[in-house]
Structures are given as C-alpha cells and as structure tokens.
Amino acid sequence: MSQRFDSTASPTALVSGLLLDSRREYNIVVLGAGGVGKSCLTAQFVQNVWIESYDPTIEDSYRKQIEVDGRQCILEILDTAGTEQFTAMRELYMKSGQGFLLVFSITSLSSLNELYELRDQIVRIKNDERVPIVIVGNKADMEEDRAVSRARAFAVSQAWGNAPYYETSARRRANVDEVFVDLCKQIMRKDSATAQVREMESGHRRRERPNRHARRRRQRVERQRCTIL
C-alpha cells in the first residue's frame, strides 16, 4: 500500500495539500470482541446515526472523507465480525489494514482480554511493533456497569508501546471522531517517516535491522534459468 505514496512524499507535494492526487487513502480495520459496539461506533462516525438493534456483523465496509491537519484523507473502514467463529477471516483483514482500532467494552473485562490475541496477530502479520493502533474502550456511558478501570486500560496501552487509549460512547457520540482522526494521524506520520527513512537509506545503504531476511527471501523464489545448454 505504502508504495503509492512515494511519488507524493516529496516536500513540495506535502506542502501543497490541495493537489488532487495528494488525497490519501488509508485502510482502517475495526477489531474487537462481539457486541462491544464496533458497528455502532463506525456507523456513528460514518453516518452519524445511532443503531440500537441487534445486528451482528459478518463484514461491512465504508468509505469516509475527512480533513486531518488541513489535508483531505479518504478512510476505507472495514468493520469486522467479533463473533469468534469468524476468526479464520481475520488474517486477510490484517494484511490489508494500515491502522487498527482495537475496541473493547468497558463493561466487560474479557472483551479487553480478547484484544491481546488480536494485537499479537497484527504485530506478527505486519511484522512491525509500531503498527498504528488506537485502543478504544466503548460504552463509556454505562459508567455504573464499568468492569475495566481506566488504570487497567492505561496499563495495556503502555504495554503496547503507548498506543493511545480513548473512552468512547457510540450512544452519545462521545470521542467518536477523535479515535478515527488519531489513528489517521498515526498512519500519516508513519507514512512520511518511512518515506524519510527510505530517502536516507538510499543515501547510506543502511539496513534497518540486521536480522531481517524476510524481504530478501521473498525475492529469492524466482526463476533461475539454466544458461548453459
């Protein structure tokens, strides 16, 4: 995905955010246990509606254009199934996603615990400890049923490289836009950082980490022709 930004990553393009093709597209994936309010959150953000009814998701996708730091971004949002029987689908989402909203419900501790496995899987698939992630504690309006303390959520956030933590309420539309904007900013930051690194690398031929053969290996499965006949 990120390659497509190479052309626009030059300083001039960064300044002139008005250029049409500088509109970026980011893939965001919303993950979390069943019934924590992923769909409600997404629907509030995209369509400004509140959904009360019971409607478990299998896989929904949305697109929304927003302005972040004066730049237009198009967010491709994938709302996924929290139902555990659909775990086999996860890997595909994670490959395509650039940023992840990890949603739990503050009224259920086990919904927070389920995020660990998700985060592990993301890091593994992306092969990157610093994937853009936002941790979301939803249903903040149900303070009286709170089962996850703020301190606990912050501890998780710290353990995951200070991934930002927000408490939201899809019902009251509290903090909804903020989580998406934060995630979007993270992706953008990462994007320009990698672009810079790439520029530096082309000068220094410096390797990011000594032990990563992964990229090189991939190229190794290539045709080898017998030249001497």
Binding site: I58, R63, E84, C226
Partner: protein
C-alpha cells in the same frame, strides 16, 4: 446386543429411546396408566435389554445385527477420529502462527524448542496405565462423577478463564462425552449446555447483548459443532452448493458501488490507457451508486446473488430433519429461556436470538470460511469468496432485523428479505420443535450403572489437567465439604503436573461410582411389577427367536401363533441356545397367562401384536441403519482426508523446523552422511491431473513430451527441472526452499511460475511432502552431502564446513548449477596455476638464461587472479554462492597463489634445503589459510549481498606481490646466483637465501588471526 437404543438421527422423530415399544401400550398396564409411569416402562425395556445384552448367548447373527455392528464401529471410529483432528487442528493452528516468526528469523532458541516439543509425537500416543491401582480407582470415581453429574463441569466452565477453556472443552466434548453417537453421553453434554446457557440468560441484563459476546457458551458452541453430527450436517447441506459456487472462479458479484466503480475505472484505464474526465478517482459512495454505468453492472448481479442465497436457504430449510438433534435442542433451550426471561417477547425477537446461534455461529461461519469446516479443499479465489460473504450477510439479515443505515447498498436486497422473512422464522421455530430427553436420560443413567464395564479412553494429561482445574477452583466448586466432589478431591490430593508430551499416555479408565453400586435387582430398583418384567422378557425372547429361526420355517407362516413359534424353537435340532429360548418362552407364556396379562383364547393377541409391530419396526430399522451407515462412511472419509491433510501440514512444519534447528545447533549434532533424494520423474499429464499444474502454456501436442524432475539435494531444498523428451539437458530449472514455499502459502500466493507452466503452491507442497517426507532422510540428519567434498578435504573439516555454510545464509545450492559459469571460471584459475607450475619446471629443464619459460610462469599468476575475481563477481551477480564454488575457489587458489609462486621461486634459485623447507612452510600456511577461511567465512559479518565484510589474515592472492617482486628480479637478471642480498652460510648445510624471508613473512601474515583486511 440385540436392540440398540434408537440412533441419534431417528431420535427426533421417534418418541423414546426404546424404539420398539409402540405407543398403544397403555392398555397393557396392570396398574396406573399415568404418563410418567408409561415413560418409565419404556425406558425399563431399554434397561432390561441392555442388561440382557451381557449374556452372550442371546446374541443374534442376522443382517440387522451385522448392520448395526458396522454402524456402531463406524461411530466409534468417527468419534475418536474427530477428536484426533481437533487436537491436530490445534497444533497446526499453533504452528501456523509460529512458523511465520520462524521464517522471518525472529524466534528465539527457547521458543524454537517449545515449538519442537509441540511437534514431538503429536500424532501417535502410546497406551499406558496409571502408576498404581489406587490412582486408577480414584480417578475412575472422579470421572464417573464428572460424567454423570454435568453440573460440575458446567460450573467449572463459568469459572475458568477464556485461556483455559479450550483445553477443558476438548476434554469434555471429545473425551468425557466423547462417544458422540451415544445417547447418554450426548444427553449429559446437552444438560451441561443447558446449565451454562441458563446461567448466561440469568446474568445478561439486556436482551440485546445476549449471546453476542464471546463467552464459555459461544466457545462451547464452536467446539460442539466440530463433533461428528454437526460436521455431517454441514457437509450434507452446504457442500454441493459451495462447491458449485466456487467453481465459477471469475464470476464477480460485487454489489458495493464503490468497489464496482473502482474496478470499472481500472478496467477502462487498462483497456484504453486513460481515464475519461467524467470518472474521477476517489468518489463518495453516493456518487458511485448514482453512476448509471455502475447501476447497470450491479442490477444483474443482484438477481444472481438473490438466486444463490435462495438456493442456499432452500437446502437449509429442506434439511430440517437432518439438523443434528443437539443443535436443535440448543435452539429449543434458547427459545424457552428467552420466553421465561421475557414473557412478552415476540416471535421475531426470539427468532433473532435463535438466528444468533444457528446462522451466526453454525451455518454462516461454514459458508464464509468453508475450508476450515472441511467443506472444500482449498481457499476459494477472490470473487467466490466475496460472493460467499455476501450470501452469509443476506442469510444473517434474514435472521435479524437488518439495519440498512449501515451499508446502504445492502438495501437493494430488501426484496429477498421480504420474500423469505416469514419462511425463515417459521423454520427457526420448527428447529426448536424437538423432544426433551430428561426421562430417558434418567433411565440411560440407570443403564450405565447396570453396565459393569463403563470405560473412558483418556490421556494422562487430560486427567491431570482436569484435576488441576478442579483443584484451582475447588473453593467455588465444592463449597460443601461433604459433597461427593469435595470428598473425591480430598482423597486425590494435589494434582500432578503435566507430563512432557513424550511421556503422555492414553489410558482406558474404568468408571464407577464410589457411592452407588451396580443394580442387580432390577425390580426393586425400578419399582415395577413382575408382570411387566415377564411381559418384556417374553416379547424380546420371541423377537429373538423369530429373527433366528430359518426363514422357511413353518412356524413363521401366517397366521402367526406364538405357541407354535415357541414350540418350533424348543424342538430345533442341534441348537441348544434356541431350545433353551423356546422352553423359556413357553414358561413365560404360561406365567403371563396365570397373571392374567394375556389370554390363550385370543392367541395371546396382546403380546402377538407387539411382537409383530416390533418385527415390522426392525425391518424398517435395517433400512435406516444401512442408510445411516452410508452417510457416516462419507463423513468418516472426509474426516480422514482432513486428518491426512493436517498430518501432512504438520509434517511440512516439522521438517522445516528441523532444518532451522539443526542449522543453528549444527556444532553439537552428530552428523550422518546423507544422499540427495530423487530425481523423481513426473509427466506433464500426471501433474496436470493432480492439480499441481494449474495453468499451462504448453501446446497440447507437446505435453506428452514434457516431463519434470523433482530432486532434493538437501533437506528442505528442492530443484524442479523441466525437460523435453530426447534432450539431455533440462529446459528450465527452479530452485525452491521449503521456507519460501511456506511463506508463499501463508501469503495465499498460489502461483509458482515456471515460465511454461504455473504450479499451485499448496499442491506442490503436498507433492513434495508425499515424495520426500516419507523417506527417513528428510526429517533425519540435516547434512546433505555432495560426494566431491569429502574426497578433497578431511571428512571432519568438510562436514563442519558444510554445516557452517548451511548455517550461514548461503542462498541456493544445487549441484547442477554448481558447475555453471562461475565455477567454470574458477577452474580456469586452477588451470593458470598449474600452467605456471609447468612453465617453471620447464625453465628448470632448459638453459638458465632462457627467460621465456619463467616469464610465462609469472604471467599465468595474474591471469589466475583475474579469474579468481571474476568468479566471485559472477556468483554474486547471479545471486548464488554455491558450496561447490567455495571449495573450488580455495583449491584453485592454493595452486595459483600458493604452489605456483613457491615453485617459481624455486626455479629462480631458492633451491637449498633450508630454502625448500621455508617454501614448504609458506605453502602450508596458504593451505591452512584457505581451510580456515572456508570454516569461518560463515561466522564473519556479511553485507546484504552475502559477501563477507573483511578477511581474517591476508588473503592468499596477496602472494602475487611476491610474484611481481620476482618478475622485477627476472627483468633485472637478479636470479639464481645473483639473487638480491646474496646467500648466507654458503657451502654449509644451512645455506639459505635471505630473500626467502619474504615467503616466510607472507605465510605468517596469511595465518594471522588478528590482521583484518577490509574487503574491497
């Protein structure tokens, strides 16, 4: 045993376990006729028969009995196989997640060891016993209690964490209640479900969040659907549909306007090279939906999708009777629990909840990811996958009130919802329409008690893990210190630790209750009259006799008369058992008559009718048994195929892991020689048929002449070459590493390009597995040797070297390729070296003032250097440094830069004994240098192209410096007696030319450990 309790399938339609007791029996009851009494009687029959089954001589050998036995065996096999698969799947899943790390070289050694221990003996468990009888007895008591009183496990399920629940459920579903086709175990398991479900309903405040979160119940449902009956059902109902759908690989039924728009624009761009102005990129969903072209594309797709969804729905609804009893019973519980909790709930609300189980957790996961449910062999390609997802979404929308405010485009499918909503709701309510089993369960439990040989096949680790969990939650589970559970746990003491996988054993644990003894006196235990017992015995005896009598026996002709039948049996020749039965039946007839139950005057009509009905029932039962057997055989085959697949997958991982580990542990391992495996030859047709070749550009008329050779020069490394008949050399050659293939598979990258043909990655893996894994060698010692190596250097050194080279990231290795361009160039280096030596010798033979030969000798050396550089360049440029190349290089260098200069200097006059000794020293230094280089090269830091960063000690080609000095001497004529610095100790034995010091110095520099020379 003669009569089985009704099988699971017929369960829903028959009214009780004892299938042969007709409903019209009330009039035979001697005392009260109430319903409870009736049901008790029915079950007593089962109990009676179960007990008499212990008597061997009552066994009947007719078609029905044989068919039943086959079916029973099959069910046992399915039960145990599905457990095996469940465990294997867990292992494969675990390794799936780990293998990526391994491939990316990011796994620490300890973790590698952990992964390896996961693989050890994963498949074959050995039989074993408990350390002592006391333990056997106590655990037998404990597990009997757990099995027969499901509330303990239900309670435990609520207490354990989500992390612990998987192993608990595995033990529960596949071991404690592992006989998936046995009524008692199934019913006990369902009772446990009920208990957990009830808790869930009681503790969920709002109905909207009911059954939505991932909880012990949902996890139980997942595991439950993995048992035999659920798998059978999914396969029967969904398999054909899904397969016909995924066959249409290129049919795109996307209806999301955004996606449709994007693909349309991309297509136009591809076709015309530019995008028209009226089709901008990055439009909004509304803009895309309004585009008339997009609408035109979507309209027919909506129709097709609806047709597909309807055909899925149709088979699901028609499959009502095939739906497993347990699944339906769970639906029923959901209905009754929600009615109890929300008395005013409408059907729609209840259907939403049922749909949240039946569609969301059972049907739709199988539709969306059919491969993980064994419905298809491979992951479907992109378009069918999306179509399946859309179909699942449509079905889910039917079950719930859809909210179109989510994805607006789904609203276009409203007609489908309207049309089928009613139907689906009706279907879901019908799903709930099944019998309860409580009464029969009570009886089944008696039956279990009456059986003296209740056994459980379980592993030691399962027992210990269950014990440990009980112990952990003891405080909650066994609050009452005198409860049976509490007493048993106290007796058992602390739970033993888990055994290493290797020491784990499967045991047959006899189950029995510490508190209840087996029932001997039936009548007393069950509170029934003698008359009833006699009646049942009479009936079963007559049925047995009639099934055993020869078909042409006169007694079987109608009109049927029981006394004649009894008589026929009693007088049968050569069959003591039948005679006994005949006599017994006569006795029973007269006893029953005395008791006034039956009457001789109406030909014992009451008993006769029941016997006839039973026989009729048995007749149709045989059909059913055969039919069920056929279905289950199908299931068994699928399960076994899946098992093969899983085992294969494990095998692949195992060998891969083995390679990685043996490389990193290389030093400590004892080595064995090992030959390259193969080549195995396959024709084009063969591979095409097996699906290994998924596309081929080879013209049909040529296919017959194309064949492929598969070779494994080293474990984990494969060479596939494409050959044309009649030609000696291959046309193409492909080097493959197992990890590359695995990575491709992980990335769902299916294509392996071989120019003329495209291979399918999973199929290639399967093929390699089959071909090479069976040979002990692939998983055995990692040291794949090439014969040449061992003959040119001492064996130990060579092996060590090889190990190191393998450990280092040396890239591809292949024997054939080893002799390609780069190595040919190296040979030229050796050629120059030897020519130089010959020239020096020729100079010695000729006149000392004929410098021609000596010049030739000196000129060959830089040529050698030139080739030496060239081969490295070529090798790196072509991205392969081969093992052969390394060896050749060193050997050639020794000739060209070690021996040749020394010989040349000898020719120039360093000919005294001390001179020659020192020259020998020099050559030996070179020899050592080269040997050490090969051994340590792997350990030196390398840059990204695989080149070592520096030399340790001066590289041997530096001796060319000496050669140039010598050339200068020759040009000046300073040779033989005119060597610079003259001669020391002339005339003595120690006569020496000081210039030989140059060689000594150079030799020392070469073997020095501290001199690091950066590479150019």
């Amino acid at each position: 045993m003669m009569l089985q309790p009704a099988s699971r399938i017929s369960r829903a339609s028959t009214s009780s376990t004892s299938s042969f007791v007709p409903v019209s029996r009330q009039n035979t009851m001697t005392s009260n006729d109430s319903r409870s009494r009736h049901s008790k009687r029915i079950s007593v029959t089962a109990l009676y028969l179960s007990m008499s089954a212990n008597q061997k001589d009552l066994e009947i050998e007719d078609d029905l009995a044989r068919a039943q036995k086959t079916l029973r065996d099959l069910k046992t096999k399915i039960s145990s196989q599905s457990k095996k698969n469940f465990v294997l799947e867990k292992d494969v899943r675990y390794l799936d997640s780990r293998i990526a790390l391994l491939i990316q070289n990011r796994m620490a050694l300890e973790e590698q060891n952990e992964v390896a221990s996961h693989l050890e003996d994963a498949t074959n468990l050995q039989e074993g016993f408990f350390p002592n009888d006391d333990k056997t007895q106590k655990y037998g008591n404990l597990l009997f209690l757990l099995q027969s009183e499901p509330r303990h496990i239900a309670h435990l399920c609520r207490l354990v964490t989500m992390a612990e629940i998987d192993s608990l459920l595995q033990t529960v579903m596949f071991t404690i209640y592992g006989n998936q086709y046995e009524n008692r175990e199934e019913n006990l398991l369902l009772t446990m479900f009920q208990s957990v479900l009830t808790y869930q309903f009681d503790n969920t405040p709002e109905y909207s969040s009911l059954l939505r979160a991932n909880t012990p119940v949902s996890r139980m449902m997942t595991t439950y659907t993995r048992r035999g009956p659920g798998q059978t059902y999914l396969k029967e109902v969904l398999c054909a549909q899904i397969n016909s759908l995924i066959e249409q690989q290129d049919v795109d039924l996307e209806i999301n306007p955004l996606k449709v728009y994007e693909r349309m624009v991309a297509k136009i761009e591809e076709d015309t090279g530019s995008v028209p102005d009226h089709l901008p990129k990055g439009v909004t969903a509304e803009e895309a939906a309004e585009n008339p072209q997009v609408q035109k594309i979507i309209a027919p797709r909506l129709e097709k999708l609806t047709a597909w969804a309807e055909s899925f729905l149709e088979t699901i609804i028609n499959g009502l009777d095939q739906t497993p009893y347990g699944i339906r019973w769970i639906c029923k519980q959901i209905r009754s629990l929600s009615k109890r909790k929300y008395p005013d709930a409408e059907d729609q609300t209840i259907c939403t909840l049922i749909g949240g189980f039946f569609f969301l957790r059972f049907i739709n996961p199988a539709i969306v990811t059919p491969r993980s449910y064994m419905l298809i062999d491979e992951v479907p390609s992109e378009h069918p996958r999306r179509t399946l997802t859309l179909i699942a979404k449509m079905l889910q929308n039917l079950a719930n009130k859809p909210t179109y405010s989510k994805e607006p485009y789904m609203a276009k499918l409203q007609p489908f919802i309207h049309k089928n909503k009613e139907r689906v709701n009706k279907f879901m309510l019908e799903l709930c329409d099944v019998q309860d089993f409580y009464e029969t369960l009570e009886m089944d439990n008696y039956v279990a008690l009456s059986k003296k040989d209740l056994e459980l096949s379980i592993t030691l680790n399962e027992v210990y893990a269950t014990h440990a969990m009980l112990e952990k939650h003891n405080a909650e589970l066994a609050k009452d210190k005198h409860s049976h559970l509490s007493v048993l746990l106290q007796e058992l003491g602390p739970a033993p630790a888990q055994l290493p996988r290797k020491e784990n054993r499967a045991i047959n644990l006899p189950l029995f209750s510490k508190w209840e003894t087996a029932i001997d006196d039936l009548t007393a235990a069950l509170d029934i009259t003698n008359a009833e017992v006699y009646f049942m015995e009479a009936k079963s005896t007559f049925v047995q006799i009639m099934r055993s009598l020869p078909q042409n026996s006169a007694a079987l002709k109608s009109p049927l008369r029981l006394d004649k039948v009894a008589d026929a049996a009693a007088t049968l020749k050569n069959d003591a058992v039948m005679v006994r039965k005949g006599i017994r039946s006569m006795e029973l007839l007269s006893q029953l008559q005395e008791l006034g139950v039956i009457d001789k005057s109406d030909q014992f009509a009451l008993l006769l009718d029941e016997v006839k009905q039973e026989l009729a029932h048995l007749g149709s039962m045989k059909e059913n048994v055969l039919e069920e057997t056929k279905k289950l055989e199908d299931v068994y085959r699928t399960i076994r195929d899946h098992n093969d697949y899983l085992v294969g997958q494990l095998e692949t991982y195992k060998s891969y892991l083995h390679n990685v580990r043996s490389q990193s542990e290389g030093k400590q391992r004892k080595q064995q020689r090992q030959q390259a495996l193969g080549p195995y030859k396959f024709t084009h047709q063969q591979l095409e048929k097996e699906g290994v070749i998924q596309r081929s550009n080879v013209p049909d008329n040529r296919k017959a002449n194309i064949y492929f050779n598969f070779t494994s020069p080293l474990p984990g490394t494969f060479v596939i070459s494409l050959h044309y008949k009649g030609r000696h050399r291959g046309l193409l050659e492909l080097d493959l590493k197992l990890d590359d293939l695995l990575e491709m598979q992980k990335d769902n990258q299916d294509d392996l390009d071989l120019e003329y043909v495209q291979f399918n990655v999973p199929k290639v893996l399967a093929l390699l597995n089959k071909r090479f894994a069976r040979k002990k060698g692939w998983t055995g010692a990692p040291n794949g040797g090439v014969e040449k190596d061992s003959t040119t250097s001492p064996p130990d050194l060579s092996q060590e070297k090889q190990k190191m080279l393998l450990a280092a990231d040396t890239g591809h290795f292949s024997m054939i390729k080893a002799l390609h361009l780069a190595d040919l160039i190296t040979e030229l280096n050796g050629f120059c070296g030897f020519m130089s030596i010959l020239s020096s010798m020729r100079y010695c033979l000729g006149k000392p003032d004929h410098y021609g030969n000596i010049w030739t000798a000196l000129v060959f050396m830089p040529f050698g250097l030139f080739f030496d550089f060239m081969d490295g360049k070529v090798a790196r440029w072509r991205h392969k440094s081969s093992l052969m190349g390394q060896e050749l290089d060193s050997l050639a260098d020794l000739i060209s830069f070690g021996v040749a200069p020394a010989v040349c200097s000898f020719a120039l006059g360093l000919r005294t004994p001390v001179d020659t000794l020192l020259l020998t020293f020099f050559v030996l230094c070179g020899l050592t240098r080269l040997a050490r280089f090969n051994v340590t090269v792997a350990a030196l830091p390398k840059d990204s192209t695989g080149k070592s960063k520096y030399f340790e000690g001066t590289p041997i080609p530096t001796t060319l410096g000496i050669a140039s000095v010598m050339a200068y001497w020759v040009s000046q004529g300073w040779i033989l007696d005119d060597l610079p610095w003259g001669t020391w100790g002339e005339g003595t034995l120690l006569e020496v030319h000081p210039v030989v010091g140059l060689f000594v110095l150079s030799g020392c520099a070469m073997v020095s450990k501290t001199i690091h020379i950066p590479k150019p």
